[in-house]
């Protein structure tokens, strides 16, 4: 079923490669990774996509209960690329109650709970001074974002593991189509926390070197922090608007932490997205893959892409720049895709040295100048949760 496109009039990304879109594009152009080395306890190391602490903004007094490292990261990110100012204009146009907020995250502000337990290691039964709903609730960042932006429309925290902030686009599209809002802020936020780093170490998929998506010697993921935001509307606001042309949402129904071995779930997801966009495989100029750099992910995703698009589909993973930003990965890669479309190049698949010869996709190791009309991005998460988004460049 073909859907009417929705429109994306503003977006901003803060991640390890930059605070805001200008720094981000510069890093992409320079093929520069934002990953930095991180020592593990008690021994070992990994690489992490860190957002610089000094960039964290202050929280207004009236929102002081929400104040923590995650909300300061959000506040800082929302001030980039005039995003905050553009929301103000949207509020004047639509009214604050007609703007929705859908935020994807896995851990929300759990890093604050980690800090408390590490600060008071012998006081398991301490009484927290701030209620959970403001502090470390899964929903706290969504409520903070709504209040910081002064928007009061529909909302949801979407937490479907690494597909969370891809699914916010699909959810916003449905709310817009249903007439429940005229605009929607969609977001993905993941802060630095030990839970993700040591959790993935426990699963044996955390790389001790910079992650190398699609490489023959790829050996796992790096985690990253990010905060990305986009403003979606039902109607176009300017000729510069990007469009969300289509989306797919499927499950593998197979395993909690491993993708379906043949990538069936993500294959169906891409076919759904193409169908909803009313596009053919040949219409897609570039695929920003999930490309997590685990042995299993890249081979299953390659198989799925090849079955849908044929051998030689133009694909890169941008996780070598930012790390795997988890609940923020969907919007991180959606924005990187839109920036690539705007700038007219396919970002290099950095850190990889030699592409795995088993893989059939065409994976450029250096930037490739190309006019990109339609781009597709995949997200795959725990629980076998898949999401695919297709974006169209401004007309």
């Amino acid at each position: 079923m073909t859907i009417a496109p929705s429109f994306i009039s503003a977006f901003t990304l803060s991640s390890a490669i930059g605070m805001g879109n200008t720094e981000t594009v510069q890093a992409l152009r320079e093929e520069r990774s934002g990953l930095s080395e991180l020592a593990l306890s008690p021994v070992g190391r990994t690489w992490f996509g860190k957002i610089a602490d000094q960039n964290h903004a202050a929280i207004p007094d009236e929102l002081a209960l929400y104040s923590n490292s995650c909300t300061r990261m959000i506040a800082s990110a929302l001030l980039k690329d005039d995003f905050f100012a553009k929301i103000k204009i949207a509020k004047e146009r639509f009214g604050e109650s007609r703007i929705a907020c859908f935020l994807g995250t896995i851990t929300s502000a759990i890093c604050e709970m980690e800090l408390l337990y590490q600060t008071f290691p012998d006081q398991w039964n301490y009484e927290p001074k701030i209620p959970l709903e403001y502090h470390a609730s899964i929903n706290s960042l969504t409520q903070f974002t709504r209040e910081f932006l002064g928007i009061t429309g529909p909302y949801a925290t979407i937490s479907t593991a690494c597909s969370s902030s891809a699914k916010v686009f699909a959810t916003a599209h449905r709310y817009l189509a249903a007439g429940l809002c005229d605009a929607a802020v969609v977001a993905g936020v993941e802060a630095q926390c030990e839970l993700l780093i040591y959790g993935f170490r426990a699963l044996g998929v955390l790389s001790s070197s910079k992650c190398k998506p699609w490489d023959k010697n790829r050996d796992g993921i790096n985690i990253g922090a990010a905060a990305g935001f986009a403003l979606m509307t039902r109607k176009p606001t300017s000729p510069e608007d990007f469009t969300l042309r289509g989306y797919g949402e499927t499950s593998d129904g197979y395993h909690m932490t491993s993708p379906h071995p043949e990538g069936l779930g993500v294959e169906i997801c891409m076919r759904q997205a193409l169908s909803s966009a009313g596009l053919k495989p040949k219409d897609i100029d570039y695929i920003n893959s999930h490309g997590s750099a685990t042995t299993m992910n890249d081979i299953t995703e390659d198989g799925a892409i090849t079955r849908v698009f044929g051998e030689g589909a133009l694909v890169t993973s941008t996780k070598g720049y930012t790390g795997h930003t988890q609940g923020a990965a969907g919007i991180t890669e959606a924005i990187l895709l839109m920036l690539a479309m705007k700038e007219g190049f396919v970002p290099a698949n950095i850190n990889a040295v030699e592409i795995d010869s088993q893989l059939k996709c065409q994976v450029p190791l250096t930037n490739l100048t190309k006019n990109l009309r339609f781009g597709l991005t995949n997200s795959m998460g725990f629980g076998g949760n898949n999401a695919t988004l297709i974006f169209g460049a401004p007309q």
């Binding site: 759990i110 709903e133 249903a178 040591y198 949402e249």
Partner: protein, 261 residues
């Protein structure tokens, strides 16, 4: 707004032992006994699957099972919408306590089960479901947020979705100590069918006075258990009388649910 249809319901919580029992009790609250607690059992919860999941997930799986049971719907292709106030906070605390130790060794199972969509992930695997699966939260308003998520999904797909709202007690310092196990499952559809239980129309608008439960114990559960905030809707369904229910959605908004038969 466009209507959707309720095709089946399940509910498990203190004094509510599945929809056949709960619909009778809600229709005649004098029979309500909160001391009766339902055992968690489901055809999806084999011994192995019980080991893979926590009670927080199992109550959701039970509600999903009973909402689908005897309906004949294709379980492999129904969209799943799950909603809970929080993830399993006991698992979160176990993980965080492990991180305090110098070794920082987290149990792989407790890592994969700390995510909010752990219940949905396991459920989808047990059902061999390959459709879209979305887990949402709105903390105390998770039922309203989940209902609206299901509504918009059904309008888009013109199909059918299973909504499960669930909560479980937690011993974590942060958590609400007296929260019971509670789960409600609803199969909702875009299309009318002979077996429907009711027709729902949803409107999101300015804050209105909340609909509350008359029975004190049921009202306490509604007021303190986020997934049970839909109890007034279940009451109207049980009585099979047309009515309007006002659900809390946010500081600024109410979700008005009109039910007719």
């Amino acid at each position: 707004m466009t209507s959707i249809w309720v095709e089946s319901v399940s509910v498990f919580g203190p004094g509510l032992l599945g929809w056949p029992h709960a619909s009778e009790v809600l229709g005649d609250p004098r029979r309500y006994d909160p001391q009766k607690t339902p055992p968690i059992e489901s055809r999806f919860l084999s011994p192995n699957n019980r080991r893979r999941t926590s009670p927080h997930m199992q109550i959701a799986i039970q509600a999903a099972d009973y909402a689908l049971r005897d309906t004949g719907f294709d379980e492999t292709s129904i969209d799943l919408i799950l909603t809970s106030s929080e993830e399993d906070l006991d698992i979160a605390e176990d993980d965080i306590q492990a991180l305090v130790q110098p070794e920082k060794e987290i149990s792989p199972q407790k890592f994969q089960n700390v995510i909010l969509n752990a219940a949905a992930g396991h459920l989808g695997i047990f059902m061999k479901n390959t459709s879209g699966s979305t887990t949402v939260s709105g903390t105390g308003n998770c039922f309203s947020v989940g209902l609206l998520q299901a509504y918009t999904t059904i309008l888009a797909t013109k199909g059918r979705a299973l909504l499960v709202a669930y909560d479980a007690p937690s011993s974590m310092p942060y958590s609400e100590k007296d929260r019971p196990f509670f789960a409600v499952g609803m199969v909702l559809s875009h299309s009318h069918s002979p077996s429907i239980l009711g027709e729902l129309s949803l409107t999101l608008g300015e804050r209105k006075e909340l609909t509350v439960m008359e029975h004190p114990a049921l009202e306490t559960m509604r007021a303190t258990t986020p997934s049970a905030t839909g109890l007034p809707l279940l009451l109207v369904l049980a009585k099979k009388q047309a009515g309007v229910v006002e659900l809390y959605y946010s500081k600024e908004l109410s979700l008005t649910v009109a039910l007719c038969f």
